[in-house]
């Protein structure tokens, strides 16, 4: 859907943890990400827990930016809280991740989302996240 992810999110290399926005509407965003061997969040050929968390956060940021692409407001995105972040397995270098973020609530400048990360239809991680989307 959107090839130029750098136009959407505030993060820039080497801290970009999503490649493409595959689907997006008001409620849901889906991204893909191929883990490069030289990714800064790779350790011992595995994409780390922090990498997965950032991948979810950037999926949420890309979705929020896409939905407000016609407005002049450039929204930031800081993770404020993460709850029930469960990891079932860590992906390996060259794995292709599919990440889905569903918006479950909003309070002032804070968005609450549910994120899941999978690889080849196997669930790797899930979490609840609160993201500050003010400036």
């Amino acid at each position: 859907m959107i090839a130029d992810i750098l136009a959407l999110i505030p993060q820039k290399p080497p801290f970009v943890m999503i490649d493409k926005l595959l689907e997006c509407d008001e409620k849901k965003a889906v991204t893909s990400f191929c883990i490069a061997p030289d990714n800064v969040m790779v350790s011992d050929c595995e994409f780390t827990e922090g990498g997965l968390m950032e991948n979810v956060a950037q999926t949420a940021a890309a979705g929020a930016a896409y939905n407000t692409r016609d407005s002049d407001d450039r929204i930031g995105g800081y993770i404020v809280q993460v709850k029930n972040f469960e990891i079932f397995a860590l992906p390996k270098v060259n794995d292709m991740l599919t990440t889905t973020v569903e918006k479950v609530g909003r309070m002032f400048d804070m968005s609450m989302i549910l994120g899941t990360v999978s690889c080849n239809n196997v669930l790797l991680a899930k979490c609840e996240m609160s993201i500050f989307e003010g400036k």
Partner: protein, 123 residues
């Protein structure tokens, strides 16, 4: 590993299931060129990895996050302003995992709180 490239450890004390570590963030790491351009902020994702790496080093075990019940990011750390951080970790080892409570702080106060469990990986 983020150690060496992103941070260097100044001191570690490990006693009675408590680990206290002091470390310095390398403000020139490339990570800050992307997070964010012109506005360096230590990523929460890196705080979590620093916690994991410090715990692994102190226990001399390879571990993996099983579940973070709660992580709170309480303050933004700009490494050009605050580059000396402290990490307090307390843990309880059970049969198949270990539970951790941890707080990372700068001189201005806590920036990251963690409560959750890790599993110990077989060597």
């Amino acid at each position: 590993m983020l150690k060496i490239r992103l941070y260097s450890v100044i001191a570690v004390a490990h006693k009675d299931c408590n680990i206290v570590a002091e470390f310095i963030i390398n403000k020139d790491d490339d990570i800050f060129k992307g997070h964010f351009p012109g506005q360096p902020v230590l990523p929460g994702a890196c705080m979590l990895q620093i916690l994991k790496e410090m715990t692994e080093a102190a226990l001399n075990k390879k571990i993996r996050l099983k579940k973070a019940d709660q992580m709170k990011f309480l303050a933004l750390i700009d490494p050009s302003v605050n580059n000396t951080l402290k990490l307090d970790i307390s843990y309880v080892l059970t049969e198949d995992d270990f539970k951790i409570n941890a707080v990372m702080s700068s001189q201005s106060g806590p920036c990251f709180k963690f409560r959750g469990s890790f599993i110990v990986l077989k060597p």
